[in-house]
Symmetry: C2
Subunit: 155 residues, 2 copies
């Protein structure tokens, strides 16, 4: 039971088979061989895929993820390059915290217009600090809105 075919990998990770093939094509993962036509994957691929998912959540492109954790587990990026990525993430995290506070504030603030609320103004300033020229993320929206429990088969 050491090797899995693509459907098993899909089941374990929740990632669509077509996406897994896509990742292989792009060089983010590798299959250990074939049985007939069918790809066989070693257990390591599960970790690789977890990393990919993680990286995507971080807003990195497949290309960048590949550079950071290559399919062999060895990064194609220099140490400073990686730390730079980490620093970006730190900034990203701070922005998200600001956004979270903002949303909570909007939910609870009774002021009719937020432009009148000093706290809101303060939050905007914070977020504005180093948000110019920043990495921006957006999801393709898996067709079912945000909170819907879905993996695979978007669009």
């Amino acid at each position: 039971m050491k090797f899995m075919d693509i459907s098993e990998v899909s089941k374990h990770t929740g990632i669509a088979a077509s996406a897994i093939r896509h990742y292989e094509e792009k060089g983010l993962i590798t299959s250990v061989g074939r049985r007939g036509l069918k790809r066989l994957f070693g257990p390591d691929v599960l970790d690789q895929l977890a990393l990919i998912t993680l990286g995507k959540t971080g807003g990195f492109s497949l290309e960048e993820i590949k550079a950071m954790f290559g399919p062999d587990g060895r990064p194609a990026l220099s140490r400073p390059g990686l730390h730079q990525r980490a620093d970006e993430l730190d900034r990203q995290i701070h922005t998200l915290e600001a956004l979270r506070d903002m949303i909570r504030h909007v939910a609870d603030c009774p002021a009719s217009s937020h432009t009148e609320c000093p706290k809101f103004q303060q939050l905007i300033r914070i977020s504005g600090r180093r948000n110019r020229g920043e990495r921006v993320l957006w999801p393709p929206k898996p067709a079912g809105s945000i909170s819907g429990r879905r993996r695979s088969s978007p669009s």
Copy 2:
């Protein structure tokens, strides 16, 4: 100097004029009127745009941002709905922290393959906790890589 035309807004926010028009079309912002053909914007639009940028950084679609902070500053979303968004962000933030730690680890860990490193394993477990069926973000990549100082003109 109370009203700005689109190029001024663009200059202040770093957002491309075409994007600003796009946001108006989608109902995320409103212009206060026209001078001839040209749109005129009030000062509030700067905050609105800051919010939009923030929301995008949080991985929300324009549609979702509109629901959270409508163009009039009043959310079209219920209080629980907003708190749900905030909770999502909290999860998102934790995932990003895990990713950041992972990257720092990859940068510094001497182990040839990460699958052999116990710390790596531990980090993977953490990230795997509630990452299945999660919101996933990805940027369209503004054509100049990640760290390039750019706003506007992606694709």
